[in-house]
Symmetry: D2
Subunit: 343 residues, 4 copies
């Protein structure tokens, strides 16, 4: 079987998690997130962000987190702003619209939003009450393209949102990868300080399932649990989520796993750069988009699975390679070896 | 710590499941339900119901299954009929209405619906187009009160629904307990034959999470997967659901676990009956509702956790006891001992 | 053609309205409710209720008013409480649920809600977050059965709602008839003082279309216009609504018309009472429900149209008679004549 | 007061309509669209399009018509395709998304869609089930920019939609203006033949309110009335809509009114063209977008109301002028006089 660089959710979960599931398996626990593991995991997350007044909710996946957060924050006539690359725009089967809310798309090549991007959208939505009211800015870090926000960028965006009465919501399906990128100067604590809501993605970083929604803005915390139950996201055995996040948060395993994934991607990227390979975008997380000849792609396909992302011209295409918490050196080295041999 | 008879989702999962999760942990698998375990589990379920043309979808929990099925089947102006005890009516935070659909409630003490119950509802909804159109009958087996449908009852209901162009949907959160009840003459194969859609509940029968939605009516199968993704229920690591149902379906483990839970409840029930205890309803599954003196309830509370369900009079109340796949003899015997001593 | 006592919307509109439509027909006016007639009509209504800080919105019909108000006031997990006779429960094709909100029904023979009715509903909705949160109490005056609230009843209900953080919303599709009933001690000013939102129904009281939504609670006023536009209720030619309410509000025409309708109904009622006729409910507005022999009903049917409302026994049924702003003496006297002759 | 060229809904309605309202005012009629005027109007429309099997529904306004049609036709996971200029995208406060459906926007300068525009959208939505399913193509005629579809264009689009299992829905808020444009070779009969659903707009063509939805595709007719009631669009006094469409349809008054509006706009356009004025788009209906110097715009503003549509450069801007069924020669000539004097 070929090794897959298709995504970061191909394998099961970090062994510590399975170990903990085994160890606590026969404990009787309260249901619906009131188990001791969930309570401890939430506490650990609040300590990590140094915000004892934050509220944490554990749900199963990213689309679920996005639709619950957005539908909970907005009034019926309010809408979300997203970069055109946003996961909510392209890959969630209209989940946000299904809750009644429009998403306004802003064309962005790098997947990141700035105040300058948002200003014209606000300007174009002043025909009250004939247009939806922009109220929430959705960003992701790392983005769907593997890029990351710097501290300064997030500070500026956060300030802008506050001034314009917009909620700022960060999709953190790949938060670990974003924050442990070698070029990131952002910390989880700063993310919590600068956003109204964010989530810590477990699914793409070593958990079986699980995203931890963190509501920093206290005005948005009230009654949030109702929304989770109503959307079918409140697991009877909340322990499954609690145990996983407890393990991931302990000793910063979460960040170690993400850093490992990033590093494996960077090894491949650097080897390619040395051979003069160009990239679709200059990323420093676990997603890279090298531009290769169709011939070389064909050769790589014999041993590896990955997505051909975009045709560049008759002879060249960009591919997408994603490494995970569990991508070890062997396939990485083998991949690099082929590059070195062929280029 | 006291032993809990509060529900059947207090513990983790059957050891076989953890074992399989461990064994397959580092396999790379396709995401979103295309993993080999999910495919095999679905195949096993179809074999079990002897319907190769059924479609099976694995989701996380019962509320999620209910809201996806109902919102997928109904047009905007159509509604659901449910017994007044229905989980969708009382315990799902308006999840069905949140998808736009009314639920018409029929007052029933035993939690079961018959054609005679439904006829007046249809009669009272003929003021077209000023009223919602009843289109789906929601039932559960075993019911929220622990009662079960007989084959004859389900046949009559199924026939009635077909004649009246109503979809019949069985919530099987406790399907295992319903079908392995000592008084049940219903089989899973018959359930598949007589309903349009049903699901097999894993969460309350030995899985960590998971309900297997089975769509028997081919006209309802088209495009169903879109609804699962849109409602945030499509797990990236579908393997978590696949592995669990694969283990539960193998050698009928699913039914063995449910039968065990039922038997433990029956032991307690029979011991009580011998001492003349009355019950709120005469159940033969893993839920029993004995009526005890407040004094005895107080005494039991010292060693056990359970819900006091309903006040009967000044001195007596009904309690609810639920046993699980993992309730072993020790707490059952200890509980019975107290009964025998005190009564 | 037979004279119809079927409802109060069989005829066109009061001649003053047509006269005003003619007179102002070629004036150019701003669209979407910014025309001078709408602005004046809103001002008149605010003067009438002596609340300069109220906000008034004109929409086309009752179902529209109900769904806009309720969906605007509630968060996704909140629900409405209604008497079982409520128009929103039975006659609006699930319009409220279609906006995502459950309605909890309270069985009431007289169509009116009291604090004592609501208390058990609140008691039974404390399993947070597994149940919807009751947040709005929907009442109508006059009710769907023709009954009316007294000042004391409304004061008690209003106080109770405030204490329990429930919004109080009065459907006033027949507000005129309710307030001008000979047994009503309630005034529009008091209604405005004691409810969060109400509306003045035009459609059933001499307008072609039109209900005037009045938001008394200032916290609920913000951005309300967006909801009206989003639900398709903002007429481009708002002048049609403005002119009608301007005419109805002038010199209390609105109340004169309702009083006339009530009086015509009372004439028939009193004539019947004199002959010993029983009534399904003792109403003092423009709806009456006399219980007559099937023979007499048959005889009346030869000359009049009306609904046979409810079978009482083999020989008797209740019928519903509704009079309107335009029901003049002739058919009323003719109807009474038959009663006097036959009984 | 200045004469307004701001829109085509500034005045009341055609005198014939008021006359008919007066004449039939005291007739008692069945409610909710069952009145004889509505029945006759629907019949006339079906005769006009030569489709006896079409179904016609009368509603109040365009946003209402759009949201009812689209939400009725689509399943929850399906979406609409619209030109970027579409009214549903920009001017309806997210009404379509509020019913749960995404709109995919295609950038178009002329407001018209072709198969070539739609093909890439279909290509980009093949990641099943992670993306919404495009299912309905929304077009308007005349468009929001005053442009029109030719017969050939509509035939090609219709064929393409059929081949790709897409519903074709034409927003006809300005259908009259579109079909009576001097460059249009399309007829209402052809529109009915080539679309699944369209509507005839009354509000912008001489009615007080009213759009006549015509469902040509028989598969889409079933139960449609439920949707109208549920969305609050079923008027109790349907006679108001019936009488209006009856008058508009008689002797093609509808088309005469639209043609008049178009002609008045063309007079102004031609006068400007003679003086070398450029236009933002070359329209032949009742909307024109001349590019004038800010100085001239200032001068015109002294006597006329209109929208300044778009800044072209420091000295020039495009304005929008709209004429209506009731725009008579006097203001048109006066406007032209100024143009002739100043240019």
């Amino acid at each position: 079987m070929k090794f897959s660089f298709k995504n970061d959710y191909s394998e099961g979960c970090h062994p510590n998690i399975l170990q903990a599931l085994l160890e606590h398996n026969t404990d009787q626990q309260a249901g619906y997130g009131e188990d001791q593991y969930s309570l401890q995991a939430k506490e650990l997350i609040k300590q990590k962000i140094k915000k004892s007044d934050a509220e944490v909710y554990l749900v199963s996946g990213g689309t679920q987190a996005n639709l619950i957060v957005i539908s909970s924050l907005l009034r019926p006539y309010q809408c979300t702003i997203s970069a055109s690359t946003g996961h909510i725009l392209n890959n969630e089967t209209g989940a946000i619209e299904a809750t009644g809310h429009k998403i306004l798309s802003i064309e962005k090549e790098d997947g990141k939003l700035t105040p300058a991007d948002i200003i014209p959208v606000l300007e174009n939505h002043k025909n009250i009450p004939h247009q939806v009211m922009p109220k929430l800015v959705y960003i992701s870090n790392s983005t769907e393209l593997g890029t990351v926000y710097t501290l300064k960028e997030l500070e500026e965006l956060s300030k802008f949102c506050k001034e314009n009465h917009l909620f700022l919501f960060m999709d953190g399906a790949r938060m670990g990868h974003g924050l442990t990128s070698e070029i990131s100067d952002l910390t989880l604590e700063k993310v919590a300080e600068l956003t109204d809501v964010f989530y810590l993605g477990g699914t793409k970083n070593g958990a079986l399932i699980g995203e931890a929604i963190v509501i920093n803005n206290q005005e948005l915390q009230q009654d949030f649990a109702f929304n989770i139950k109503q959307k079918g996201a409140l697991l009877a055995k909340g322990r499954l989520l609690g145990i996983q996040f407890l393990e991931l948060m302990k000793n910063d395993l979460y960040f170690d796993l993400a850093k490992h994934a990033n590093q494996q991607a960077m090894k491949i990227k650097n080897a390619m750069k040395e051979r003069g390979v160009q990239f679709l975008s200059d990323t420093y997380t676990n997603q890279i988009f090298p531009i290769l000849s169709n011939e070389l792609i064909q050769k790589l396909t014999e041993k590896f699975d990955f997505y051909v992302w975009k045709k560049i011209d008759e002879n060249f295409s960009a591919i997408r390679l994603i490494t995970s918490w569990n991508t070890n050196d062997e396939p990485v080295n083998e991949f690099i070896e082929i590059i070195k041999t062929e280029l």
